[in-house]
Symmetry: C2
Subunit: 211 residues, 2 copies
Amino acid sequence: MAGTQGAPSLPDHAVRERLLEVATQLFARKGYAATTTREIVAAASVTKPVLYYYFRSKEGLYLELVQDAFKQFENVVDTSIMGSGSIEQKILRLCDQVFDLVLKKIEVVRLVYAFYYGPPQGAPFFDFDAVHQRLFEAIEQLVMEGMRKKELGKGKVEDMVWAIFGALNITIENELCHPERELGHVGLRRILRLLFQGISTARGRRRGEKR
Amino acid sequence: MAGTQGAPSLPDHAVRERLLEVATQLFARKGYAATTTREIVAAASVTKPVLYYYFRSKEGLYLELVQDAFKQFENVVDTSIMGSGSIEQKILRLCDQVFDLVLKKIEVVRLVYAFYYGPPQGAPFFDFDAVHQRLFEAIEQLVMEGMRKKELGKGKVEDMVWAIFGALNITIENELCHPERELGHVGLRRILRLLFQGISTARGRRRGEKR
């Protein structure tokens, strides 16, 4: 078929990655709807059939992009909650490693924000809330473990999850909007520590009646 | 001129408000670029000259919309930091009243998020970062006051501001994305209280060496 004549004879991982990378940047900068297949292949210095070979279409490329990032995110979450240590260490590690992935995939994160908050752009459906939900559940699991082990004080599990989520979330949004502030890993860790001084058992016991 | 022939002879506040309201909804739902003047006037049941009379153009209407919300936001911030009480009470009040305005203007907030994170839509420039900056400074002022009065423990002012900002921010984003969770004012207050158990003096003194 005409569509595959110009395709490489062997899959070339680097070309596929380059297409994903330039498409992410174009989608994030111009918007999904305003980015054409022609622009993507031109930016990647390949021909249209190469894009069709790997992804079938702009829609296919987009889905691959977000699904791939989601899989990496799930891996990070799954492995980071399994490690050992105190609950404080585990929560710091989870947030740290999720933030690490955010930095590596900052353009994909920018794109996700644009899709999530921006006007409809006619892209195929992807359940962005699932990302949020998975992270919520991971933090929730650690908070509940911390309560069982009495490393965290009494209180509403949900509130503690939101407080932790809020610290991670504002650090991510700072990175998206004001990377020059350089809050980064170190800032995230300091903010979480401030919060832990509130939710660890020692304080919880003394102030239990106020909760 | 033809453009003003259909304008009302006396300014009608309700009509102006209705135009702002329907435009906000259309901009937020369809995007700024995809919304036409024709659609706005149709949704408000007025003629085009009425829109031109009040706002001159779609651009003018949009600027009025965001500037008006910004002014209200500044008023809320200015008045709520002036009240009396402990620093904890003052910070809770500030967050509570900002969140109150967010609920009242939730469609404008949605629009601001779409402009801030979404693809370029050709709207006239508005400095959304100024909103963020004003709120940051207000919280910063209260945190510094709290440190001076020894109601807050030692630590980096910036970290405490981000921790407080993070709690407010995640509550606002919950309201935008998942209003059904009903975190709301009560949830925001509980999350902030969790945080205060960490940043209030009693804990600061005991854990001062870890900061």
